[in-house]
Symmetry: C2
DNA sequence: TGTACATCAGTGAACGCGCGTTCACTGATGTAC
DNA sequence: TGTACATCAGTGAACGCGCGTTCACTGATGTAC
């Protein structure tokens, strides 16, 4: 019943140096159980229908008891959002790490495919973080760190494209001033030798990944793509390959995915 | 109070040849008023919190009276979904029609910008159709027609790219067999001389458009892009321009947006 | 080692709210002769 | 043109449900002397 989760229930080894007593241990485990159960129910009924009372019911406790462990429904949502970002980020990182560093397109495609697979396996958790925001819920600071794990991988590919010389910054076409200014916050995380052009393309590719996953997951591919899972996967892979080729652009002269296709 | 809407309340001139009596006219107008009010409330509270009772309240009628006009909450949602698709489709068509036919990139960018502007102006209506599906609601057949208006514009651009010779089908790189098979349903609407490659790129661009809009609307660009509306618009435009250039590919030798950037 | 007190977990009832939908009924509007 | 009947709009009450959150309370576990 008390399966291990990804949370500590607010009591950490760091905070209390001495070994945990019976009560403290029970608190940690019950908090985990609550989050775990909430995640299970989230997967069943979706973010909108997730309720504290139902979680309490499944755990055999009275609804008010949950408030000993979680201050409110919103806080429970925050825990689940952080978990979802972390799980998705971990899946993407694992997939990306398996690809040789020099294979930039491969790394991008690996991230994209990992996102898609995770989303198909956890549709409601995906919807929780990338779908319509839960009404009345405002994401606190805690969520922004975990949220950046996937984008960080994509930025890594862009950085390596420049570092390895696969992309030639000197050939970059400048973006309009207003668009340049829009990139301000992102500049805080990206080295200056990655040109604006590459950032814009990178963000567009990010949009392509999540757009494709969301369109598929939210049913927009009905009557457009076949229902066969393997065919959809093949389509997605092909689309991402071409997106990668068009994003991580080669230096002049070298063959480049889509560009190469336009050649003689 | 009884403002004109986009619905007819189930009683059309075609069905009843004779001029509408007082009762029939009142029925039409009240049904319109209900849908109109529902749309207003949708814009305020979002799809999840839309309720029949609240609509009735605003119209000064008792909640059960609404059932004379709308069979159930789901049917009301369907009406709103159809309306949203139609409104978005109309906005996109209007913007696209202003661009010279030969300017393929311009047509794509016009559609993309229209989608974004409409989405920013009607965030909840956008979420209703492109966000997380409403739990427990299954979209009926009525919605698939209106849903295709925007994609149809993009397909039009692809078709014209081939027809005008801007894109050379002979140079197309074939897609893997499984991906080809995935495109089956879409093939029903697209001429055979549009190669698979172009369909894949087109769908990816579609994903880029809605991905970028959704990421922005659902808050994923926080800490990434500046908050300034004009800068965000400039970024979006630039991203879409480059996406268009990478999608509607030129025949060999001609300068092409991003490809041109890689040249000497 | 034992005792007195403080802390905490969990209970059960309640508050106040909102929802979709049904149903018997009244009274007005339309229709057929 | 007038009358009898059928249709329909809208009412008001009710059913049955679920939710988040608060609060006074009991009883068990921990802590300090």
């Amino acid at each position: 019943v008390l399966s291990p989760g990804r949370h500590d229930g607010g009591v950490t080894q760091e905070e209390t140096a001495r070994p945990l007593g019976v009560r403290a241990r029970a608190r940690v485990e019950l908090t985990r159980a609550i989050v775990e159960t909430a995640r299970r129910q989230l997967a069943e009924v979706g973010p909108a229908n997730l309720s504290l009372r139902a979680v309490a019911r499944e755990l055999g406790m009275v609804s008010s008891a949950v408030y000993r462990y979680v201050p409110s429904r919103d806080d429970l949502l925050t825990l689940l959002i952080v978990d979802a970002y972390d799980a998705l980020g971990a899946a993407a990182e694992k997939a990306e790490a398996k690809v040789p560093r020099a294979d930039l397109d491969g790394r991008f495609v690996a991230v994209a495919k990992a996102v898609r697979v995770w989303a198909l396996e956890h549709p409601h958790e995906y919807a929780l973080v990338y779908g319509t925001p839960v009404p009345g819920y405002a994401a606190p600071q805690d969520t922004i760190g975990p949220a950046t794990r996937v984008p960080a991988l994509l930025v890594g590919v862009l950085v390596d494209a420049v570092a390895s010389g696969a992309y030639d910054p000197a050939a970059a076409v400048p973006v309009p001033p207003a668009a340049h200014r829009a990139l301000g916050p992102l500049r805080g995380f990206v080295p200056a030798d990655v040109p604006d052009e590459l950032l814009v393309s990178g963000l567009a590719s990010w949009a392509t990944v999540f757009g494709a996953v969301s369109l598929e997951l939210f049913g927009q591919f009905q009557n457009v793509l076949s229902d066969a899972a393997s065919q959809r996967e093949a389509f997605f892979t092909e689309a991402m390959r071409r997106t990668a080729a068009a994003t991580v652009r080669r230096r002049s002269g070298e063959p480049a995915g889509l560009s190469g296709a336009a050649g003689p």
